[in-house]
């Protein structure tokens, strides 16, 4: 069964917010107004939105270095996100974390993480906490195909299965770990194939189809919440940008990128909404206007936010 129209439009709006957010971050980075590095999520919006739409606000997620999309989908405020990416005082982490460490702990986002794979174990731990505290919160770990090569992925899946933890593993298989193609780093074609070693139910879905991701995530979330243990959902998707903004992308062809851009998850979902008469063109136009305003305001907010005071260097190391 498909979600109610209200949720469908909210999902569409969130996908669009992620896309516009990332487009602006990419532009601002190239203009030198954002420093460091940014790993953009454009093209993968259906994954974050499909998965997070199946969660409650008090459920937990852990995210990756390519985490802006997860953060928005879990309910973060784009103003404070943008301020963090600018390294400003009003950022989620007071400017101390940056693009790769945005978190919104109160909203259940335990943070983007720059160590590939480590967030998977943290999600298992948050799931363990639900058991210790006797709550029905579940945890969901986002990770990429690259994380499957790490030891912590295997230790975490094994532990989650042995303890039957309420956790959902969401693999965003975007085909590349930095420059290395999935086919060159995995002896089996699908990440979902790995789950059988741990007795974990798994499925592979079209990661550009937000409703397919949503349905798979919903089933996994229900299993976790009702005591049925972990599930792995693999979504096949693609990152439109390089590993980082500015990546020369010598490892893939322009034709390949173009073929995936033709499967734009937002355009696909928009067509589906219109064909199924879930909404009219004017509603989509209205949403686009709202998103434009939101992202413009986020950039203004970030640029107007002060630099962190230098004494912040020495705060938040230890808790008194």
């Amino acid at each position: 069964m498909n979600p109610e129209p209200e949720l469908l439009l909210a999902m569409y709006q969130t996908m669009l917010r992620i896309r516009r957010f990332e487009e602006r971050v990419g532009e601002l980075f190239l203009q030198g107004r954002i420093w460091g590095a940014v790993h953009l999520y454009s093209g993968e919006e259906a994954m974050a939105v499909g998965a997070c739409s199946a969660l409650r606000t008090d459920d937990y997620i852990t995210s990756t270095h390519r985490g802006h999309g997860h953060c928005i989908a879990k309910g973060a405020d784009t103003k404070h996100m943008m301020a963090e990416i600018f390294g400003r005082q009003d950022g989620y982490c007071k400017g101390k974390g940056g693009s790769m460490h945005i978190a919104d702990v109160n909203g259940g986002n335990l943070g983007a993480n720059a160590i590939v794979g480590d967030g998977i174990a943290i999600a298992c731990g948050a799931a363990l906490a639900s058991r210790i505290k006797h709550t029905d919160q579940i945890s969901l770990a986002f990770f990429g195909d690259g994380a499957v090569g790490t030891g912590i992925f295997h230790e975490s899946l094994n532990l989650a299965a042995v303890l039957q933890l309420p956790v959902v593993f969401i693999c965003e298989n975007n085909q590349y770990a930095v420059s290395t193609a999935m086919k060159d780093s995995s002896p089996v074609p699908h990440v979902a194939d790995r789950a059988s070693a741990y007795g974990i139910p798994a499925t592979t879905v079209d990661g550009n189809d937000v409703l397919a991701v949503y349905k798979a995530a919903q089933e996994a979330v229900q299993r976790a919440r009702s005591g049925g243990g972990p599930t792995l959902v693999e979504g096949l998707t693609y990152r439109w940008e390089g590993h980082y903004k500015g990546d020369p992308e010598v490892y893939r062809s322009a034709e390949e990128v173009a073929s995936w851009r033709a499967k734009d998850p937002i355009v696909c979902f928009q067509s589906w909404l219109l064909q199924n008469e879930e909404c009219g063109e004017e509603q989509l136009t209205h949403i686009k206007g709202l998103v434009e305003d939101e992202i413009r305001d986020a950039v203004t907010f970030a640029e107007e936010s002060p630099q962190p005071a230098l004494d912040e260097l020495h705060t938040d190391i230890y808790i008194d």
Binding site: G91, K96, L110, G125, D316
Partner: protein, 332 residues
């Protein structure tokens, strides 16, 4: 005052804190009915059940990684790493996640995890079961590093560690588990960053950690017979380090010898010596010396192993050397 072993003191602290706070739980390898490789959690599985004493597969990375997630989500995990050597498998979870999450997230998350692990040699377990890696953790901002040497300190510091909101590396010692000592009946929480003067003296300050305190006290006894009055200080915590107590002693004696059971090179002794030189240089009457493991892996054969660890003789020698009574010796 009742007497108990270091092991029993730790178990008492675990039991008391688990009873006090339902969010405290244990996680680690063979800690279930087996009671842990050194028996510290013996009986707790039957008392608290499998949800509070979580016996895991051999997965040091996931044990600590899951502890971090559970702590951020509002519980107080006490993870056991069977031998300190195996903590190397969980280094990313400790160094990149646990230590930094509070700072990196702008103070929005806290990770009150205690990682308990035994260090130290002297029992023929060779190079991968006897290391003392405390200096690695002292180097990482965000971690508290504790090394108790007596049963009373073990109980009082473990209780503090479990209640503290910071991540703690709690370093036990395999040869201390069976040692006995008086432990106050009443509940005592020993604050972090408070050194303990285990013996007062006026001629030389000996700063020793963990099991080395036993050798330092034996050496002090022997030196007393020769008219040399040694003060023995146990820092108990390496981070935060009670440098003020150490400096006050060194200003009194004018001399310092630092003893630790880990490699001399870039060990905690180097840090303590540097702080003494920086802040009490004018009050020193002799070189600050270190008695530590030579910079070698710990070998198996008993004679070789003994030569790789500090002992009473080397401490006596170092004290005499800083007093100018004997010439310098080679430390290997």
């Amino acid at each position: 005052m009742p007497e108990m072993s270091y092991s029993e003191a730790l178990r008492t602290a675990l039991r008391e804190e688990m009873k006090r706070d339902s969010g405290v739980f244990l996680i680690g390898e063979d800690i279930g009915r087996h009671g842990g490789a050194f028996g510290v959690s013996r009986g707790l599985f039957d008392e608290f059940g499998p949800d509070r004493v979580i016996n895991t597969p051999i997965s040091e990375a996931a044990i600590v990684g899951a502890s971090v997630g559970a702590a951020v989500a509002g519980t107080r995990p006490v993870a056991e790493i069977m031998y300190m050597d195996f903590i190397t498998i969980s280094m990313s979870q400790i160094v990149n996640q646990m230590a930094k999450i509070h700072y990196m997230l702008g103070g929005k998350a806290r990770a009150p995890v205690v990682v308990r692990t035994p260090a130290g040699g002297g029992r023929g377990n060779a190079a991968q079961h006897m290391q003392s890696l405390e200096a690695w953790f002292a180097h990482v901002p965000g971690l508290i590093v504790v090394m108790p040497s007596t049963p009373a300190d073990a109980r009082g510091l473990l209780k503090t560690a479990i209640r503290d909101d910071n991540p703690v590396i709690f370093i036990e010692n395999k040869l201390l588990y069976a040692t006995r000592g008086e432990v106050p009946e009443e509940e005592i929480l020993i604050p972090f960053g408070k050194a303990d003067i285990k013996r007062s003296g006026g001629d030389t300050t000996v700063i020793a950690t963990s099991r080395m305190i036993l050798f330092a006290l034996q050496a002090a006894e022997r030196l007393a017979g020769e008219g040399i009055d040694v003060e023995v200080i146990d820092p108990r915590c390496l981070v935060p380090l009670d440098i003020e107590t150490i400096l006050a002693s060194v200003r009194k004696t004018g001399r310092a010898v630092i003893v630790h059971e880990s490699c001399e090179r870039a060990g905690i002794g180097a840090e303590i010596a540097a702080q003494i030189y920086e802040r009490a240089f004018d009050e020193l009457d002799g070189p600050v010396l270190r008695v530590a493991n030579p910079n070698v892996p710990i070998p198996f054969s008993p004679g070789l192993e003994a030569a790789a660890l500090p002992d009473e003789d080397r401490i006596v020698q170092a004290v005499k050397q800083t007093l100018g009574l004997v010439p310098a010796f080679e430390n290997g």
